[in-house]
């Protein structure tokens, strides 16, 4: 299942500068493992020690947030586009 993964700029130091990589995976969990095997350290940036997605990381499959699908068990099929998106927030107070 070859899917395209869009890498946000802060993680590209781990992907050799690539903004998009292609990975074979059948679900989001497998995708993260495959990414980490090729780009060591990525999983730690995306998941906590228990393996859950970090609160500041959102993963979208074809514009759908996996939190509203099956989270890391969300299935993938060839041609899917996966976007890793940071949560952006702040303010004066």
């Amino acid at each position: 299942m070859a899917v395209k993964v869009q890498i946000p700029a802060p993680l590209r130091s781990l992907t050799g500068g690539q903004s998009e990589v292609e990975v074979d995976a059948s679900d989001v969990s497998g995708l993260i493992d495959r990414l980490d095997s090729r780009h060591r350290g990525l999983k730690e940036r995306l998941c906590d020690a228990d393996g859950n997605l970090r609160s500041y990381v959102r993963i979208f499959v074809n514009d759908e947030d996996v939190r509203f699908l099956k989270e890391k068990a969300t299935p993938l099929k060839t041609g899917d586009t996966v976007a890793i998106v940071p949560a952006i927030a702040g303010g004066r107070g």
């Binding site: 700029a9 802060p10 979208f60 949560a87 303010g91 004066r92 107070g93």
Partner: protein, 142 residues
């Protein structure tokens, strides 16, 4: 970071019109050889529900849409902007703490201080993971 005057005017007008609430948006451009030049500004809705006078949040759904549209145009996200109503144009401790928790290394943040909804002044910063802090970024308004 370089940005055309017309696009900076869009940011400042957004900050003034949104007063007394914080406003936010996305900076897009082409990041060639470390030369950051913004060539598109996309204002987005501040999704902070509880305290929009002092906090902002960009919804991931909005961000993924902006990112996709940008890629279709050959652009990428260079950073973000938000306003500080009646507060200095520099990152707050809240800004720093949330950036340090997240995926922010090398990302530009333009912060706009807005006094009384009228006078708006921008500054630019880059977050660095190694320092867990924002560093000043030269802001070249062309």
């Amino acid at each position: 970071m370089r940005i055309p005057r017309a696009l900076m005017d869009v940011i400042l007008a957004h900050a003034r019109s949104g007063y007394p609430y914080e406003v936010c948006g996305v900076l897009l451009g082409r990041n060639g050889a470390g030369d950051r030049r913004v060539d598109r500004v996309v204002p987005v809705v501040n999704r902070e529900q509880d305290s929009p006078q002092v906090r902002y949040e960009i919804a991931p759904e909005d961000l993924v849409r902006v990112q996709r549209d940008g890629r279709d145009e050959g652009r990428e996200i260079l950073g973000y902007y938000h306003s500080h109503p009646d507060h200095p144009a520099r990152p707050s401790e809240t800004d720093r703490r949330i950036a340090a928790e997240g995926l922010s290394d090398g990302v530009v943040h333009v912060v706009v201080g807005v006094e009384g909804g009228k006078r708006a002044a921008p500054s630019a910063w880059v977050f660095r993971d190694r320092a867990a802090a924002f560093e000043p970024e030269p802001l070249d308004i062309e």
